[in-house]
């Protein structure tokens, strides 16, 4: 069923990537900048999928690369850089979701804490609205289910890779996927019928 996440993120110019990593390890900020540009899309898909499109998603995205920069010397090339960054992105996104949960418990919730208001689905649904509806449906899922959906169904990682990134058994990935898809279909059914 198409390329796996690992294959998609291991681009043909991986030799150049190794060179970029080597230069960045030696302190080249220009090389690191190239890595940021190359992996922005991948990290954005993970972080925005997990947190929704908001300011904190941008902040977490920046943190992913800052953290990678801090620990770049300990990065070994035995895992692909894409998988490594995705793992950081998932962990930081879950931390952010926990922070939001704590804020909701002790303080008044902010706009970012609340899922966006339900959009009305009608004939004039354009791409942005569709995107908003899909994102809202993903945000309605529990974070654990959301992580599986983002990695497997959006990023295209295989179930094995998803299990490794999330450090959970393969069976758990499959059961979460099944339950998440059921919920997503409930939310998106009206749109899917119209489509």
């Amino acid at each position: 069923m198409g390329l796996t996440g690992e294959q998609r993120h291991k681009t043909p110019d991986s030799v150049t990537e190794q060179e970029l990593i080597r230069q960045a390890k030696n302190g080249s900020t220009a090389a690191f900048g190239e890595i940021v540009k190359k992996y922005e899309a991948l990290v954005a898909a993970t972080v925005v999928g997990m947190l929704g499109s908001c300011q904190s998603a941008d902040d977490v995205g920046q943190e992913v690369f800052i953290k990678f920069f801090k620990y770049i010397k300990s990065f070994r090339a035995d895992a692909s850089l894409g998988t490594y960054l995705t793992r950081i992105a998932i962990n930081l996104s879950i931390n952010e979701l926990n922070r939001r949960k704590r804020r909701r418990l002790f303080f008044v919730s902010t706009d970012e804490d609340r899922p966006p208001p339900a959009a009305k689905i009608d004939d004039s649904v354009d791409r942005n609205e569709t995107q908003e509806i899909v994102h809202q449906a993903i945000q309605e899922l529990e974070p654990n289910f959301r992580a599986v959906v983002v990695l497997r169904l959006i990023e295209g990682y295989s179930t094995d890779e998803t299990a490794k990134i999330l450090n959970i058994p393969l069976g758990t990935v499959l059961s979460r996927l099944s339950r998440a898809q059921k919920k997503l279909r409930e939310h998106l059914a009206p749109y899917m019928e119209e489509a």
Binding site: M1, K37, Q131, R185, M192
Partner: protein
């Protein structure tokens, strides 16, 4: 269309099926229109999710990351780092000094007591009262 076949169909999207399972599923798909419709719905949901994924942050994202890295590399971070390392060494040195003093004190007194550790005798209750009385007398 049985529940077993629906589960098998869902599993086919995410996991490798055995040759027997593949054969069962393909036969079922050929004969059941409902199962084909279910397959189309699963594909539609996945297409919808993939097509609507966001693959970028706000504009100038990489420039913001690089600015933060440059800021981090400038004086601020090195000051914090040097403070951290300085205090780390001070803390280790202090712990060593305290441990040496305690061991010297214990070996010198040849006994294990709080007096030996602190290096001073603990006053008794009577001595404390006497001291208190003396202080009151000397205070105008």
């Amino acid at each position: 269309m049985t529940q077993k076949l629906i589960k098998l169909l869902h599993r086919a999207f995410d996991n490798k099926l055995s040759p027997n399972e593949e054969e069962t599923l393909s036969k079922a798909l050929a004969s059941s229109e409902a199962l084909r419709a279910e397959k189309a719905r699963i594909e539609e949901l996945r297409r919808l999710l993939q097509d609507n994924a966001v693959h970028s942050f706000q504009p100038f994202f990489s420039a913001r990351v690089m600015r933060r890295i440059e800021d981090m590399q400038s004086a601020g971070t090195s000051f914090v780092d040097s403070m951290f390392w300085s205090f780390k060494f001070v803390a280790i040195a202090a712990a060593l000094v305290i441990a040496t003093l305690i061991s010297q004190s214990l070996t010198g007194q040849n006994q294990l007591s709080l007096d030996a550790v602190l290096g001073m005798p603990q006053p008794s209750l009577e001595e404390t009262w006497r001291l208190d009385f003396q202080v009151q007398e000397t205070t105008p």
